[in-house]
């Protein structure tokens, strides 16, 4: 861990990897809630956490290396489910990168448990980690000038959902009707750092019809319930 001074009142704490950054972020939130850390912004990112608006940056910088930071729990009790139609225009490209069939992309993606590592790019845009490393994909060589709202997309180790239409270079694998950002809602952002997420297939591939309600998301399929889990898990 390395804490770099940023201007007059901020510190950028650099960690070995994203998992360590997420664990430090959780500890920082605990300390702020307990009143032992006074800071305006706690901004996690790929492998750093920025503390902006610190009362005493030098004291925090000196004390940080001595903190005990518990590792993140493996599995969370509360998991947010986001219904997805795996119908993105880049599914075939992603399947080729992964060396699997197109339906397999959906199965692999829906089987993973994700965590919002950090937010950025746009209000409510979360960078979700959780896919095994071998499933990293590059950004598209040519970004799209407009990616539709609700697009579920991959880039590098991350999954993201576009909160509104915007230009973007991520690989689009699906779409959701979930409202990622609504500034009139409390909280405005569906995804904030630390939230656990699963993507739940909205419908099954045509050759595997699911009864007479193909557009209903499956209701809360726990990993241990074989009857409801998508085939191939």
């Amino acid at each position: 861990m390395r804490a770099l001074p940023v201007g007059e009142g901020a510190l950028l704490v650099e960690l070995a990897d994203g998992t360590e950054a997420q664990a430090l972020h959780a500890e920082l939130l605990r300390r702020r809630a307990a009143g032992t850390l006074r800071v305006r912004e706690i901004v996690p990112a790929a492998r750093t956490v920025l503390l902006d608006g610190l009362d005493e940056p030098d004291r925090v910088r000196a004390e940080l290396p001595g903190w005990e930071i518990p590792p993140l729990p493996e599995r969370a009790e509360a998991v947010l489910e986001i219904p997805v139609r795996y119908d993105g225009p880049d599914l075939a490209d992603v399947a080729a990168h992964w060396g699997v069939s197109v339906p397999e992309v959906a199965r692999i993606h829906a089987a993973a448990e994700f965590r919002v590592a950090f937010c950025g790019f746009a209000p409510g845009f979360g960078y979700l980690t959780g896919l095994p490393e071998r499933y990293e994909v590059p950004r598209r060589a040519t970004p799209r000038t407009s990616v539709p709202e609700g697009s579920v997309a991959l880039a590098g180790p991350y999954t993201g959902v576009y909160p509104r239409a915007s230009p973007g270079g991520w690989q689009l694998i699906g779409s959701t009707d979930a409202v990622l950002w609504d500034h009139a809602r409390v909280p405005a952002a569906l995804l904030s750092p630390g939230v656990r997420v699963r993507f739940v297939p909205h419908e099954f591939p045509p050759h595997e019809p699911l009864g007479d309600a193909p557009f209903e998301p499956p209701v809360d399929p726990p990993p241990a319930s074989p009857g409801r889990a998508p085939e191939g898990r």
């Binding site: 770099l4 001074p5 940023v6 201007g7 007059e8 901020a10 950028l12 305006r40 912004e41 706690i42 901004v43 996690p44 990112a45 790929a46 492998r47 750093t48 956490v49 920025l50 902006d52 608006g53 950090f118 937010c119 950025g120 790019f121 746009a122 209000p123 409510g124 845009f125 960078y127 509104r164 500034h183 405005a188 952002a189 904030s192 750092p193």
Partner: protein, 289 residues
């Protein structure tokens, strides 16, 4: 809508509603936004008896013109500019009573970039995450003013300003920005750091509320490759691949992947907001306090 409102007659090049912004949401990707020249916004609010957080108008170079439906007290500050009410000259930097239906015209800035216009009661558009500021990066808050738009005003507090005129700093002829190097100064060569803190830059016309862009010698990187996205602060001097420093202003992105060579002192950013394109810029090392 009540009669406490004004109609936009001339929106100008870019006029937005601004208050003290919406800090505290950076972890959700929400920029802080807010007036680019906070001392000027605070001062015009004080001149009309508003609370410090009341929303004002921020104009860009060419001013704007509005027609209040009820009599209002206004004050114009920030960049010096001509002010008229129904064509008659009115004071800048002092409270002005504007009759109902009269045309308040804020002219082109004589120097500097951004004028601030306070109305007693404040601009009362719907707040978003606790702020009425227009955020041009993420689109939060009210849209920039458009000709014909009508914006609501709040009720005056009934308190009167204790001052009727106050000195305001002139826009800079040369912008001197005190910086503390880091957090990513080690991504640049020693020669680049020497260049950055000794050579002259100029304000680029591509500057906006997101960042003050500069023209001048490019800064050479010591480390190539990509920096994983990391949190960005107000005043961060980010260096994109073209090597020209960009100073992050209020609407800056909350995370970014280009290395930050240094951070400008927050107290110097108001002057940066008033530095017109072409203004010479110097970055001087000030260390940390």
């Amino acid at each position: 809508m009540t009669d406490r409102a004004f109609a936009v007659v001339r929106a100008g090049a870019l006029t937005t509603v601004q208050d003290l912004g919406r800090p505290g949401h950076a972890h959700l990707g929400v920029p802080r936004s807010g007036a680019l020249d906070p001392p000027a916004a605070l001062l015009v609010n004080r001149l009309v008896g508003n609370a410090p957080g009341a929303a004002v108008l921020e104009t860009t170079l060419t001013g704007c013109a509005v027609r209040p439906r009820r009599p209002v007290t206004v004050a114009v500050g920030g960049a010096p500019c001509p002010v008229t009410v129904d064509g008659r000259p009115a004071p800048w930097g002092a409270p002005v009573r504007v009759p109902a239906g009269a045309l308040l015209d804020i002219g082109t800035a004589l120097s500097g970039v951004r004028c601030y216009v306070a109305f007693d009661g404040g601009v009362a558009v719907e707040p978003v995450l606790g702020s009425r500021s227009t955020d041009l990066l993420s689109g939060l808050g009210p849209p920039p003013l458009a000709d014909g738009a009508v914006l609501p005003l709040g009720s005056p507090s009934g308190t009167y300003a204790r001052v009727d005129t106050v000195p305001q700093p002139a826009p800079p002829r040369e912008l001197v920005l005190r910086v503390a190097l880091g957090p990513r100064a080690d991504w640049f060569t020693r020669a680049a750091l020497e260049t950055f803190t000794t050579r002259a830059y100029r304000v680029s016309s591509a500057s906006n509320r997101i960042g003050l862009r500069t023209e001048g010698p490019a800064l050479e990187r010591a480390l190539q490759g990509e920096l994983p996205s990391e949190g960005m602060v107000l005043g961060a001097v980010q260096v994109p691949p073209d090597g020209r420093p960009v100073v992050f202003l209020a609407d800056h992105p909350t995370t970014g992947g280009y290395p930050v060579v240094a951070v400008v002192r927050e107290a110097d950013l108001a002057a940066a907001a008033q530095a017109a394109p072409g203004t010479p810029v110097r970055f001087v090392r000030a260390g940390r306090r």
